[in-house]
């Protein structure tokens, strides 16, 4: 195939087909290399978390110690294999991870994978909502700031961006709750949905777990309204955290592209300033945002834990805190490792998307 294409193109120059094939091979190679880079990352985190959690002793004593008589406790430790050498346990744990077994929680004896599938959807829903808020706030404000560079709107917006970063999610959540739920009564105080909607949702056949998607699919619009009103405040609290980052990123990049020659060329042809910013300078400035989004996922997951606790949003983070308070360290370890894998894989996907869009990223 390649030879057939190369023949007619041989005349214009040898360089063109050569660079073309190099770019194609480059992407394939990049994806493979980038994929294998996930493995050491996950491996290191798994090892780190495993040994750290073992330093404090076995998980059964941690969660049940004092509640069970010593002989029963010893029996349970023996049954679970926690009295064997740590290295043996470590390799067994690695083996289990490869087969997708993340362990079973001690307090409620559920497989960690099941915990993830039950509560993961809620966290995903919250993250998507927050991402929508972050983009809806960050991109337009970033454009405005770039257009009015070093003038009052820019100063105010940059201050706003720093304020977004400086406010912990749980404090903005608390303020939002105070203002809009307690004083104004516009939105519910906490939870993902009212009890009635939750029951309807769990009664659905093959639910995705993402409430608004389920509600849309079943055509239940009263439930959808209920879900939306519950979703607003948590989404704003978590979304504002990342909105500041997006705002600054869009601002810096648009200012960067506004200095390019093609913008000057457009301006000299009489393209309006507004159009220059929103059309010509805006699109190339979006590429770095995709790259940074990958880094934001880690920040968002951390924020999600705090947001879920603030709003009693029953997702992975909320559940993680419950297990932490119950001293169920098998569950904690399982969830932490799972989240590490999720972060590594999303970073991989984001990097690939960035490479597809911008060939300069590949190496």
């Amino acid at each position: 195939m390649t030879t057939l294409i190369e023949v007619p193109e041989a005349e214009p120059g040898i360089v063109a087909p050569k660079s073309k094939s190099a770019a194609g091979g480059g992407l394939g190679r990049y994806i493979v290399i980038r994929f294998f880079l996930i493995i050491p990352t996950v491996f290191i985190l798994v090892t780190l978390v495993f040994f750290l959690m073992r330093v404090i002793g076995d998980p059964i004593t941690a969660s049940q110690g004092g509640r069970l008589p010593p002989d029963v406790l010893a029996q349970r430790i023996h049954d679970a294999g926690y009295d064997r050498p740590v290295l043996v346990q470590y390799f067994e744990y690695l083996g289990q991870l490869i087969t997708g077994n993340f362990g079973t929680t001690i307090t409620d004896r559920r497989p960690v994978v099941e915990v993830l599938t039950t509560f993961g959807a809620a966290t995903l829903e919250l993250s998507i909502n927050a991402l929508i808020v972050a983009l809806a706030v960050g991109i337009p404000f970033g454009l405005i700031a770039a257009q009015h560079r070093d003038k009052t709107p820019d100063a105010l917006l940059r201050f706003f961006a720093i304020l977004c970063y400086a406010t912990p999610v749980f404090f903005s959540g608390l303020l939002l709750k105070l203002t809009f739920s307690v004083w104004l009564g516009w939105f519910p105080v906490a939870g993902r949905a009212s009890t009635r909607t939750e029951l309807t949702m769990s009664a659905l056949a093959a639910p995705t777990g993402i409430y608004w998607l389920d509600a849309l699919r079943s055509g239940n619009f009263t439930a959808l309204g209920d879900i939306a009103s519950h979703a607003v405040l948590p989404a704003i609290a978590l979304g504002l955290l990342t909105a500041g980052v997006f705002l600054r990123l869009v601002r810096t990049n648009v200012i960067g592209t506004l200095g390019k020659d093609y913008i000057e060329a457009g301006r000299s042809r009489g393209v309006s300033e507004f159009r220059l910013v929103t059309k010509h300078a805006y699109k190339p400035a979006l590429i770095p945002i995709i790259t940074v989004m990958g880094l934001q996922i880690a920040l968002m997951l951390g924020g999600a834990i705090l947001t879920e606790t603030t709003f009693e949003w029953k997702g992975l983070g909320y559940q993680l805190v419950q297990y932490l308070n119950a001293r169920d360290f098998v569950a904690v370890q399982g969830i932490v490792v799972l989240l590490a894998i999720i972060v590594a894989v999303t970073n991989f996907i984001v990097d690939i998307i960035a490479a597809l869009i911008d060939p300069r990223v590949r190496y």
């Binding site: 050491p40 290191i44 985190l45 400086a166 406010t167 709750k177 307690v182 951390g302 705090l306």
Partner: protein, 337 residues
């Protein structure tokens, strides 16, 4: 015409200190941001130092000579910012909280500075397998949600419940583990860049030992970005400390005051309309982080000549650039980029 002076005359130490030299360089909006940041950080620091004098009561004080404090009393009268559900005085806990925050910042940043700088210098200078392993480990930790890592570390160190120093150290150490990779990356990159500079090569030719080259020639040059990282990390340290406290991994209220912990307790109050228990510690966090971030941001902007605002060409002689026909063009160029 005499030969133009190419180097800036050496300034006294005071005006070469990081923040002060930046303040002199700054102009307009950037100066405003820096000044606000310095003022907020200063208030924060002074409050923490003079907390015993400023706070009307102790952080765990529940009663005074006239009897027990009322619980959940609205701001005003004897308790300026009200009292919590446990009967603590909110104002006192907000003031004492600054002391906890400063201690954690100092301990954590000192530890991560030390580890990060040493590892970064060694890794960048010697390279090889040590460098490769450290880079992979640092990248792995860097990609991980910081709060999760901090939670795991604080479980290991204190198992959740803690005394004052136990709590301080577990928080500080958790934050350290999160920060070391960041310092490591920056210092390593700088070291690799500096290693190729001619002055390192000439030091080698002169027979200087590796220790001397790293300690004397590279260290001083590689650590220029540290004031910036310090301020940014100090603000992140406060946020992590508050996050840990909010999740219940902070310091017990009887051993120290901690803003995140107070916010956690305040969460339950919100539904009954009690706002003062949460709003004041929250504002304390926001103002502190805001101050430190503003200082860091301004330093960052001022260090970058492309985004730094300049004074008008006529007002300052610009000692760095030789006076000549090109000099009026410089500010215009800087403004364009």
């Amino acid at each position: 015409m005499s030969t133009p002076q190419l180097t800036r005359p050496k300034q006294p130490l005071f005006s070469r200190l990081p923040v002060i030299s930046h303040l002199k360089k700054s102009v307009g909006l950037q100066r405003g941001m820096l000044v606000v940041g310095v003022v907020l950080s200063g208030i924060f620091l002074l409050t923490s130092i003079f907390a015993p004098l400023l706070a009307p009561y102790g952080y765990s004080q529940l009663s005074d000579a006239s009897g027990s404090f009322p619980t959940q009393e609205a701001p005003g009268g004897k308790h300026l910012l009200g009292t919590t559900v446990g009967g603590y005085d909110v104002l006192s806990r907000v003031i004492w909280g600054s002391q906890t925050a400063v201690t954690v910042i100092i301990v954590s940043v000192a530890m991560s500075l030390f580890l990060g700088v040493v590892l970064g210098l060694l890794s960048g200078y010697f390279g090889g397998w040590l460098d490769r392993i450290l880079v992979v480990v640092a990248d792995a930790i860097y990609a991980f949600p910081t709060l999760l890592l901090a939670i795991v570390i604080s479980i290991v160190i204190s198992r959740g419940q803690s005394s004052f120093w136990g709590g301080i150290f577990s928080c500080a150490f958790s934050i350290t583990v999160v920060f070391v990779p960041q310092y490591f990356r920056v210092i390593r990159a700088e070291t690799i860049r500096l290693k190729a500079e001619p002055f390192v090569e000439s030091a080698k030719v002169l027979g200087a030992s590796s220790a001397r080259i790293i300690g004397r020639h590279i260290f001083k040059n590689a650590t220029r970005t540290l004031p910036l990282m310090f301020t940014l990390n100090a603000s992140e340290a406060i946020l992590t400390l508050a996050g840990l406290g909010f999740l219940g991994f902070g310091i017990e209220p009887t051993s120290a005051a901690e803003w995140g912990f107070d916010l956690n307790k305040a969460l339950a109050d919100t539904s009954s309309g009690i706002w003062w228990t949460g709003v004041f510690p929250g504002i304390a966090i926001v103002l502190t982080v805001l101050g430190l971030t503003l200082v860091g941001e301004s330093i960052n902007d001022l260090n970058d000549p492309r985004i730094r605002g300049r004074k008008r060409a006529g007002r300052t002689p610009a000692p760095g650039t030789p006076a000549g026909p090109e000099s009026p063009a410089n500010p215009a160029e800087a403004g364009k980029s």
